[in-house]
């Protein structure tokens, strides 16, 4: 700090910018970063695996979320630390890329950081550690590829797919009926999958939930469910062989974008205006009728008069349908979304075998089922459950299962089990014995962290359980065998590979930081 004077003799204080900032350098910086990363991993560690626990998250607004999904937990946590934020990003990118394994990836990164800390204390340069990890991860990646096995599935033999989805679901609260849910997920994915191109568009699968009933009542609907009811209480609740007009224009007089005014100054004009108005409604409804539609689905609202006219002409209608749902309906029914009444023509109508309204419980909840569509490529999974949190959690779990099924269809390779990594670790040791022994061992130890956490969470003795046998895994459910092939516990290769790659990358990034400059609080 220094005192200086300007040309008018007024004093001012010069502050060096650096002093306003806190700064960490060298080993201290790395240690602090590692500690932060480990702290995040520690939170998630207990929710890994079939016996993992859930976290209850209370949002600022007081809402409660109960979840086991790593990505969701981290997303909801309000994290301030930069490194912790990196870990959140890590889990998010795993979520985007694969959809499952969001907890595993963070636990693995945490373990890598923990091992790196030891090496740093031995005085090994961070860059060397980072490089060693990189090499080791490449070997692990290839090795996984080698021990994975391809599997065959076809539309009639979905068993392998179901097995893999069950592995994903077994760690969630829905594991009570994982078999049913896994089947639903696989069937849904197969329904929308393009097996030729090996592509699955998950947007076509709509997941809808309604509180009430039991989890077992969850069903897959080959069609669309819209949380809306008919615009007029007396419209028919059931339409067979519906021809659907999908409209994005309101049943209201036109509203030109340009500003305009219609001036009325004589009685005649007043009367013409009224006639005109009635003609509008009449024409709109007539056009729908002329095109041959038997159901109108509209993105906008209806005027009372239009509503009654529709009812009167025996044309059931649904209003205020969201844009996304409208698109799905269009895909499912093979119809076109029509933005103007003038463009409505018979060939633009969507077709569905059955449209019905269904009500639930004692309250007036109603939903609209559109089934037996012309194009069965859009499906809806309809979740029932005891309470709101249950449904939300089921939605997240199903999303994971859907992603897994999709990945399998894209790349048909499986990796047998979790604790295989131990086997892998030993192999690594052999491979990398020259020169960087210590590095590769620490990587291998880090890989052990996942099965270790699994065993711990299941209340088993961790050391005992990590015996080595190529198909050996952790017997979390007390089945009696720890051969994963027998237990049918599978994971996708790509999921596992991504976990290793992403975790290594983030750890490398964290290790390379040797200087943290942050503005101090003011």
């Amino acid at each position: 700090m220094a005192l200086a004077f300007d040309e008018f003799g007024r004093p001012f204080i010069i502050l060096r910018e650096q002093e306003k900032k806190t700064r960490l350098r060298g080993l201290d910086a790395q240690k602090a970063n590692i500690a932060a990363g480990k702290a995040v991993a520690r939170i998630l560690r207990t929710s890994l695996g079939p016996k993992g626990m859930d976290k209850m998250l209370q949002s600022p607004d007081g809402d409660v979320i109960i979840t086991n999904d790593g990505a969701t937990i981290l997303e909801q946590m309000d994290v301030d630390n930069q490194i912790a934020k990196l870990m959140v990003e890590l889990s998010r990118s795993q979520d985007y890329e694969i959809g499952d394994g969001t907890t595993g990836v963070v636990v693995m990164a945490g373990a890598l950081l923990e091992q790196a800390e030891k090496l740093l204390e031995h005085g090994i340069h961070p860059i060397r550690v980072a490089e060693g990890y990189e090499m080791a991860s490449r070997v692990a990646f290839d090795h996984l590829e080698r021990i994975s096995r391809k599997f065959e599935f076809s539309a009639d033999n979905i068993e392998p797919l179901v097995q893999t989805c069950m592995t994903t679901l077994s760690s969630k609260i829905v594991n009570r009926c994982k078999r049913a849910l896994a089947e639903i997920a696989v069937k849904a994915v197969l329904a929308v999958a393009d097996l030729e191109r090996k592509d699955v568009n998950l947007d076509l699968i709509k997941v809808e939930g309604k509180v009430g009933g039991k989890l077992e009542d969850t069903e897959l609907v080959y069609g669309i469910i819209v949380d809306k009811d008919m615009s007029h209480p007396q419209m028919p609740k059931r339409i067979e062989d519906a021809k659907i007009a999908i409209l994005t224009c309101p049943f209201e007089p036109p509203k030109p974008k340009t500003k305009h005014k219609v001036d009325i100054d004589t009685v005649e004009k007043f009367q013409t205006l009224r006639e005109q108005e009635q003609k509008y409604f009449d024409e709109m409804v007539q056009k729908c009728k002329d095109a041959g539609a038997t159901l109108v689905i509209c993105q906008w609202g209806f005027d009372d008069e239009a509503n009654h006219l529709l009812m009167h002409r025996n044309l059931p209608a649904v209003r205020w349908v969201g844009g996304v749902e409208l698109e799905l309906i269009a895909i499912a029914t093979g119809g076109r979304i029509v933005p103007r009444f003038q463009e409505l023509s018979p060939e633009k109508l969507g077709k569905a075998g059955l449209v019905r309204e269904k009500s639930f419980g004692t309250t007036k909840d109603r939903m609209l089922y559109i089934e037996q569509c012309a194009n069965s490529r859009a499906v809806t999974i309809f979740i029932r459950g005891g309470n709101k949190m249950m449904i939300e959690e089921t939605k997240r779990s199903l999303h994971d299962a859907l992603c897994v099924a999709r990945n399998l269809i894209r790349i048909t390779q499986l990796c047998t089990a979790v604790a295989q990594q131990r086997y892998l670790a030993q192999l690594l040791l052999k491979l990398l014995q020259i020169g960087t022994l210590e590095l590769s061992r620490s990587f291998a130890d880090a890989l052990d962290a996942v099965p270790l956490a699994l065993a711990e969470n299941s209340g088993l003795s961790p050391i005992d359980t990590l015996t080595c046998n190529p198909h050996c895994g952790i017997d979390c459910n007390d089945v009696g065998t720890n051969d994963m092939k027998e237990q049918n516990v599978f994971e996708t290769l790509i999921g596992k590979q991504q976990q290793i790659l992403l975790a290594t990358q983030v750890v490398k990034m964290i290790l390379k930081i040797d200087d943290v400059i942050s503005p101090s609080e003011y």
Binding site: A32, A36, A39, I43, T46, K51, M53, K55, M56, L57, Q58, P60, G62, I66, I73, M77, D78, D80, N81, A84, I173, R176, V211, G212, G213, K214, L215, P233, Q234, E252, P253, K261, V262, D263, I264, D265, V267, F270, Q271, L273, R274, E277, Y280, F281, D304, N307, H308, L309, H312, S359, G361, T362, G386, N387, K388, M389, M390, S458, G459, D478
Partner: protein
């Protein structure tokens, strides 16, 4: 360091919150359960006196997240089956209480959950076997329904006149002929008189007055139900406005407006109706026109009233009036103005659809009426669900004891730590009759042990008879409950307990920071 992940609390905290809620609501369970007074903090400090679990929990201000789970299940129970809202929370609370003991013994929550699941399966199967179904026999089924209604009502304010109200509720529900659409049963509350003066009316009652100078009684009414503006028709074309340059033109426009309304009224009259019910206001001018034509015009019937009226009279809700020949009109035999207490209401009798009816509740005060309505609603919900799923069970703690017995058997057969959890489940089930007995001021320890001994005989129908304070034969006493309600209680309570058990950490997010705009 990671400071913003919030405060993490010891897992026990999540149990405690949930158990506190269950303890709070426990005293309202059973026929001798007590009521709670809820006082709102808002303006007017409104007071509600209630015994209904869902209502109490809805009004609580809670910031414990686990407690919120319980509030949520009671709400869902209310939406799904309508009754058993207290029982579900109490059972979940008991399950957690037992689980807490087990975790203190260092048993892993997942093991407890596995045990609970096995016990749940077993309990549900037992219930399924023990159900009774009198679907074929109409008379017997009616007795079943009466018994269920009385059992439900006996824990409510209506217990004094439960037979009377059970009769009301059963009559109303049977008129629905199997539909669960409770919308066509209208409950009308009018302070004054006593609860005994409540009655079921087979027609439809609209809480509105008849316009002045219009007929007070119409026979063979043809009703047009409408939702249309009867003040001035708004011009709906965007951007239209009236601009005039002289006073005479204003008069012209006004005349045209009047003319327009007159035409509209003419069109409505052309339907050949003698009663017109509108959802929106009817201004003086059209009202006068209707009066001139001898048509009864009722304005401002609310949305539900309109829908219900359309439903019961079989008419459609109209908004345009250009094709009178194809609009379906509603019919009823007689429309007349009746007096209930001080108020004048419009009564539609002899309606086309026999399903609808109105229950008029009378009572000393608003609070009594509100509570009576809630009780009756519970009874109606349960009955309408029972009409669809006709399986019934005995009440008075009988199902719990039967389930507990089977679950006990299972615990003995199961090896491993899980058996502790199964045992705990059975204890939680037995807690329900214990609480019922406690609330009635009885010696629960004595009573429950007697009951348990009784249940070891084959085909026992014993339960807690709160009135005499002994173990009684539920079949003779006619205490019955709906299977569907019991099953929903069992399933949701276990699900909620499981959910809370699975949690090992509560992460509270920091309150959202306000933007610095100072």
């Amino acid at each position: 360091m990671l400071r913003s992940s919030g405060i993490s609390i010891h897992p026990q905290a999540s149990f405690i919150g949930a158990m506190a809620i269950a303890d709070l609501i426990k005293t309202t369970l059973g026929p001798k359960g007590m009521d709670k007074i809820l006082q709102s903090t808002g303006r007017g400090r409104n007071v509600t006196v209630t015994n209904d679990g869902a209502t109490i929990l809805k009004s609580l201000h809670i910031d414990n997240p686990a407690a919120k789970v319980l509030v949520d299940i009671s709400k869902v129970q209310d939406d799904e089956v309508g009754d058993g809202t207290t029982s579900v929370v109490v059972l979940a609370g008991e399950l957690l209480k037992e689980a807490e003991k087990l975790t203190n013994m260092k048993i892993h929550p997942m093991t407890i959950i596995a045990g609970y699941r096995m016990a749940l399966e077993c309990a549900r199967d037992t219930l399924l076997q023990k159900t009774m179904d009198n679907k074929e026999n109409t008379d017997k089924f009616r007795t079943d329904l009466m018994n269920i209604a009385m059992t439900t009502l006996s824990s409510k304010i209506l217990s004094q006149d439960k037979e009377y109200f059970a009769e009301l509720a059963v009559d109303a529900v049977l008129r629905l002929k199997g539909s669960t659409n409770l919308e066509s049963i209208q409950i009308l509350k009018k302070p004054g008189g006593s609860l005994k003066d409540s009655f079921l009316d087979e027609g439809f009652i609209l809480d509105k007055k008849i316009g002045i100078g219009q007929p007070k009684r119409i026979e063979n009414a043809k009703i047009l139900v409408a939702n249309t503006a009867m003040d001035t028709d708004k011009v709906k074309i965007y951007g239209a406005r009236v601009r005039v340059d002289s006073m005479s033109k204003v008069a012209d426009i006004e005349a045209a407006e009047k003319q327009k309304m007159r035409q509209k009224v003419q069109k409505i009259i052309a339907h050949g109706i003698n009663c017109f019910v509108n959802r929106q206001l009817i201004y003086n001018f059209p009202e006068e026109l209707f009066a001139d034509a001898g048509i009864l015009a009722i304005e401002h019937a609310d949305f539900e009233g309109i829908e219900r009226l359309a439903l019961v009279t079989g008419g459609e809700i109209a908004s345009t009036f250009d094709n009178p020949e194809s609009v379906k009109l509603g019919h009823c035999k007689v429309i007349e103005e009746i007096m209930i207490g001080e108020d004048r209401l419009i009564h539609f009798s002899g309606v086309a659809m026999g399903q609808a009816c109105t229950i008029v509740l009378r009572g000393a005060s608003e609070h009594v009426l509100d509570e009576a309505e809630r009780s009756l609603h519970d009874a109606l919900c349960v009955l309408s669900q029972t009409v669809n799923d006709t399986r019934v069970l005995f009440g008075g703690g009988w199902p719990e004891m039967v389930m507990a017995k089977e679950v006990d058997e299972l615990a003995r057969k199961t090896p491993g730590k899980k058996s502790h959890a199964i045992d705990a489940f059975s204890r939680a089930l037995q807690a329900i009759p214990t609480i019922i007995a406690d609330n009635a001021g009885l010696d629960s320890a004595e009573l429950i042990s007697q009951l348990r001994a009784e249940h070891h005989k084959e085909n026992c129908t014993a339960g807690v008879d709160v009135i005499t304070g002994t173990v009684g034969d539920m079949q003779k006493l006619g205490i019955q409950e709906s299977f569907k309600v019991k099953q929903a209680i069992l399933l949701s309570a276990t699900e909620a307990a499981e959910m809370i058990l699975r949690v090992d950490e509560i992460i509270t997010c920091a309150p959202r920071r306000r933007e610095d705009r100072m």
